[in-house]
């Protein structure tokens, strides 16, 4: 009895929490929007990948590919791939953590000359495309490498030990991923209270003894965290293994080949699940174990006095190793730049602009598409990230943990898994999701605007019926005709409200209707531009202008399903002030339009559209935005927001006028970090590119596969350049902003954990 009572209490409490949030429609909407986004674009695709391995392409249950791990024909190969993967992860994580530790110790404790430069160089690998290091390693140490072949005169007959293979792979991944370990351990060393070591010293312990008994145990959580992170990054890495692992196959490449070579999604999904399991375990370990066992982060701010390593026999080895790795990094990046200007690598090392010219004509399309989509996804991802951070830090509701978890999940799982999930989820209409989305939106509209059961029923039934009826018109009118019809209707309703009833809100309705109409009207802008580009001689300008036409269209041709979300949210806000019959009428009308758009044509078949790439970008960069938002919000006294509330401002006004200005530096940092992540992402979008929407990282891979290593180098240089420009811009802006204002969140360095 008591058990039952407390159970009821539990649910009543949960219900009350949401009832309280629902009092503020904008807050409720933000929560709903984030939940919808995370469900459709993170949870559902990952679920699809995870479950698809159990079903054949005909939809029959099958364990065929799992069984292959145990049979005698495929078994040895499958198992070897699996052990290779773990070996690669283990080695790369060990060496990477070691190098990261050496860098961190040098920077924090050894006071080396050129500390700033070391720090910058350590971070360079994080802002370059993930296989840039593989590329330059091949350029320098490959069979025709500048150092191995040209300077040392080595030749590599068949079967000899060249750079391709596990050793090369671990080398490349170490350089690519050690930055993360460096950042984690540096933060930890800085926060390590030197008095603890001094205390040990005063008790007569020698340096090594102190290190072994005091320093190292305190760093264990950091070392473990760094190791686990690197392990996962290494496992998820696709670019490097694809090009440098030679005969050694790892899971990421096996998955890639299953899709790209065999078009066998069941096999790919099976292998993805195998890859997902260790990744998830590590992710959970990191999230719930390592972060809680940290003794050091508790002490908070870096303490004033740092101990500087005095013993030269400890100091110099650290400094020298750090300098050597720095020199290697410089060398590797110079090799990429040189490679892009080199006539025929390995044979003719003379300089040429040929590759850049080729890239700027043939490749301008990919460069512009990538930059455009990366930029477009950036504010979107950061905004969602900030909202999630705000909800997580400031609000109390059930499912908060899940929201936080899923928002991190999209960035934590290997990109290939997400990419495959996107293909599986959005190549045919995911009707469950579409219906679910419509139901949620309709209920949201009904329950927010009306409190009487009768009114709710009228709106929901009538709106849905009319809307679904309208969606059949699609056969006659086509999608474009339907858009014209619905857009026209919204414009008409808006005009009526504006001109007849004299409401200023009518203008916003007209705006929304116009946006619907723009779906078709934009062609009239895009067409002439496309025609213009065709009239130009084929080359840079022709390609660039042609892309412009496509980019304009993206802005106005939102897929109908995504449009419905915008419509309902805008509708609820606009209808809120209305009363009586107008309220009822408008709600029914907007629901009808939503229903018509929801079930028209092939809802949510995003494969091949730019939106799938946009969403993949956003999902991948979301965790970083959330983290920087959370960190920033935790530094702001909640009383400041409460003060705004108590002065009559609702959550939305408070967020705009108080919270946002205060977390602006974090917001900008999040933006730059997201942009970087978008520009350099490979694994998540490799399966999502289409003939119409090309992505530089994918272009690099295909060029390289076809032997165009120099043009690949040119592309890579371009990406690095773009990212550096963006980062430079950030520091310029934030420095100016922080100098003029003496408040707010100061730490804007994008933390990588």
């Amino acid at each position: 009895m008591t058990l039952k009572l407390s159970f009821m209490d539990h649910w009543r409490r949960r219900y009350r929490e949401f009832a309280i949030i629902a009092q503020d429609p904008v807050l409720w909407m933000s929560l709903l929007f984030c939940a919808i986004f995370l469900f459709i674009f993170v949870f559902y695709p990952i679920l699809r990948t995870a479950s698809n391995g159990f079903f054949t392409s005909e939809g029959q249950f099958s364990l065929e590919h799992f069984a292959r791990y145990f049979d005698s024909y495929f078994g040895p190969l499958y198992r070897r791939v699996f052990t290779n993967t773990l070996l690669m992860g283990g080695l790369a994580a060990t060496v990477g953590t070691l190098v990261g530790f050496i860098f961190a110790y040098t920077v924090v404790r050894c006071n080396p000359p050129g500390k700033g430069l070391i720090h910058t160089l350590a971070l360079v690998p994080t802002v370059s495309p993930p296989f840039a290091i593989a590329l330059s390693t091949v350029l320098l140490f490959g069979r025709n490498g500048l150092i191995t072949h040209r300077w040392l005169g080595m030749t590599f007959p068949q079967g000899s030990n060249d750079i391709y293979g596990m050793d090369g792979l671990v080398f490349v991944q170490t350089i690519t991923f050690f930055s993360a370990a460096y950042l984690i351990l540096r933060a930890m060393l800085e926060r390590l209270d030197p008095s603890m070591e001094e205390a040990a010293e005063s008790m007569g312990a020698n340096r090594f003894h102190i290190f072994r008994t005091v320093t190292l145990p305190l760093l264990i959580p950091g070392l473990a965290g760094a190791f686990l992170l690197l392990f996962v990054e290494s496992l998820a890495d696709l670019g490097n293994p694809l090009f440098i692992s030679g005969n050694v196959t790892v899971l990421a490449t096996q998955i890639f080949l299953a899709v790209a070579g065999e078009y066998d999604y069941q096999k790919a999904s099976t292998l993805s699940l195998v890859l997902l399991i260790p990744t998830l375990i590590v992710f959970l370990l990191q999230r719930y174990y390592v972060t809680r066992r940290s003794y050091v982060s508790v002490t908070g701010k870096p303490s004033g006095g740092h101990v500087v390593e005095k013993e030269p026999w400890i100091r110099w080895p650290f400094v020298v190793v750090t300098y050597l790795v720095c020199a290697l990094i410089i060398l590797l990046y110079l090799a990429i730049i040189y490679g892009s200007f080199c006539r025929t690598w390995g044979v003719d090392f003379s300089l040429t602009l040929e590759w850049w010219r080729l890239m700027l004509t043939r490749g301008i399309e990919a460069i512009l598409d990538t930059t455009f989509l990366s930029l477009l996804a950036t504010p979107f991802a950061v905004l969602i990230g900030m909202i999630i951070a705000f909800l997580v830090v400031r609000k109390q509701f059930s499912g908060k943990g899940a929201l936080d978890f899923v928002s991190n999940l999209g960035g934590a799982v290997p990109g290939t898994i997400l990419g495959i999930g996107f293909v599986l989820a959005f190549s045919t209409p995911p009707m469950i999701v579409v219906v679910l989305l419509y139901v949620v939106l309709a209920l949201f509209l009904g329950c927010t605007l009306f409190h009487e059961k009768r009114q709710q029923l009228i709106v929901l039934l009538l709106g849905s019926a009319v809307g679904i009826g309208l969606s059949f018109l699609d056969d006659i009118l086509g999608l474009t005709g339907l858009y014209d019809l619905l857009g026209g209707a919204v414009v008409a309703a808006g005009l009526y409200l504006w001109l007849k009833l004299g409401q200023a809100r009518g203008r916003i309705w007209v705006g929304i209707g116009a946006y619907l109409l723009a779906y078709n009207l934009v062609e009239f802008v895009a067409m002439p531009i496309a025609t213009l580009s065709r009239s130009l001689p084929r080359g840079f300008w022709s390609n660039a202008i042609f892309q412009l036409a496509d980019h304009i269209k993206v802005l106005f041709q939102l897929p109908p399903t995504l449009m419905t979300i915008v419509l309902i949210f805008a509708g609820v806000l606009l209808i809120q002030p209305e009363k009586g019959r107008v309220r009822l009428l408008l709600a029914t009308f907007i629901l009808a339009v939503t229903a018509a758009l929801s079930f028209t044509a092939m809802p949510l078949t995003l494969v091949g559209t730019p939106f799938i790439i946009l969403m993949a970008y956003a999902v991948r960069s979301l965790p970083a935005s959330v983290r920087s938002g959370v960190a920033a919000l935790q530094q702001i006294d909640p009383a400041i927001e409460e003060a705004s509330n108590s002065l009559g401002a609702d959550t939305q006004y408070t967020f705009r006028k108080i919270t946002l200005p205060l977390i602006l530096p974090a917001l900008l940092a999040g933006m730059i970090f997201s942009f970087t992540r978008h520009m350099t992402s490979v694994s998540a979008i490799i399966f999502l590119v289409s003939a119409r929407w090309r992505i530089v990282t994918a272009a690099i891979m295909s060029e390289w596969e076809q032997g165009g290593i120099s043009i690949a180098a040119a592309y890579s240089t371009t990406i690095i350049l773009f990212v550096l420009i963006a980062i430079g811009g950030l520091y310029f802006v934030t420095n100016r902003m922080l100098r003029s204002r003496e408040y707010g969140v100061r730490d804007v360095s994008p933390s990588i954990e």
Binding site: A639, A643, L647, R741
Partner: protein, 357 residues
């Protein structure tokens, strides 16, 4: 514009292995228009939670909050027409003084001229005129506190809520601001709820003091009432200093209670009619005890003496119990040495008798 708390309870759900916490336990309170009520109590007694419930930052688990007869239990803070002054001031760091004070009026979309007029008026009231363009970090603590107060006052709220607004100021400034707040509150006649753990603040500011302890109200009364006639031991102990002296009621005479204390009958006027034979506790404030060389109701031995300047404090052992006394008569300049035998008597008119329930 009265505010009624009707048996409100607030429990926080269990978190991280901790049990469920009842921060506020069935509290009932009526606050009349124009009244300043202080919630006084030790930290963790639920006073801040009560204030946050009134403000709408938390919602009660049970009970009702009524404003002008209307239930506002789950009405969000921005719709309550209350304004709060925070302990940390919570001044918007990116806005200057004028913008801070005008914030709430801008939310209301008041015309610009009117905003300027009202802000100027309230800035004069808190004596900040001329500081309009200052950034918050260019202000001293006292000035920041006044910005926070002005920002709330300018709203002309139905209820003004203050959460330990003076606790971050130094002693001198606190005293000055205390008088200022009381003066402003009186002249504007704003219904106010003031949270503090400082009894002097509570005594000097309030029309009524609400003494709270572990989520419950111990006593509601005027400053004089809670000091002179505490209803529980806790109140007597928390407000001021008190000696608790055990006694037995041995009779009644002309409406006076006769209580046997340390074997001597004391006649005490104006007490509740405790039954004869009942064990009672006398609350004797240190300044209600007279210490003289000769005479006195009781004889005692000085165990500790401390000269404080404005008073002389003694611990005097009487019949095995240590009594703390405070001699405030300026003519009494002699300090008795420790070990001296002295005469001790109570100012019987001031002693308060508490039943031992």
């Amino acid at each position: 514009m009265d505010l009624i708390l009707d048996a409100i309870t607030k429990t926080f759900p269990p978190r991280g292995g901790n049990a469920e916490v009842t921060a506020v336990d069935t509290i009932s309170l009526e606050i009349a228009e124009g009244e300043l009520v202080t919630l006084l109590g030790p930290s963790g007694c639920g006073k801040t939670t009560t204030l946050r419930l009134i403000a709408g930052f938390e919602f009660p688990t049970a009970g009702r909050i009524l404003l002008d007869g209307e239930e506002i239990n789950t009405r969000p803070p921005h719709k309550r027409d209350m304004a709060m002054v925070f302990q940390s001031y919570a001044i918007f760091p990116h806005l200057n003084v004028f913008e801070n004070i005008a914030y709430g009026l801008n939310v209301r979309r008041m015309p610009k001229a009117q905003i300027e007029e009202r802000v100027a008026r309230v800035m004069a009231l808190v004596r900040l005129s001329g500081y309009e363009k200052r950034a918050p970090n260019q202000l001293s603590g006292g000035q920041q506190q006044r910005v926070a107060l002005a920002r709330a006052l300018v709203m002309e709220p139905k209820v003004l809520l203050m959460d330990e607004p003076l606790s971050n100021l130094d002693a001198k400034l606190r005293e000055q601001m205390r008088t200022e707040i009381r003066h402003i509150q009186q002249s504007l006649g704003i219904t106010s709820v003031y949270v503090t753990h400082d009894q002097i603040e509570a005594m000097t500011l309030s029309d009524r003091v609400v003494v709270m302890n572990s989520g419950r109200i111990e006593q509601v009364g005027s400053p004089v009432e809670v000091y002179r006639r505490p209803q529980t031991r806790f109140v007597a102990d928390f407000i001021g200093r008190a000696n608790f002296v055990a006694g037995t009621v041995c009779g009644r005479e002309n409406g006076m209670l006769v209580v046997d204390v340390f074997g001597q009958p004391l006649k005490l006027a104006g007490q509740e009619p405790h039954p004869v034979g009942a064990a009672v506790t006398l609350i004797v404030r240190p300044e209600m005890i007279q210490v003289r060389t000769e005479g006195g109701t009781y004889r005692g031995i000085v165990r500790r003496a401390a000269y404080l300047g404005d008073a002389i404090d003694y611990d005097i052992e009487v019949a095995g119990q240590l009594l703390t006394t405070s001699e405030t008569n300026p003519l009494q300049t002699e300090v008795y040495a420790e070990g001296t035998s002295v005469g001790v008597s109570f100012y019987e008119a001031c002693v308060h008798v508490l039943g031992s329930a």
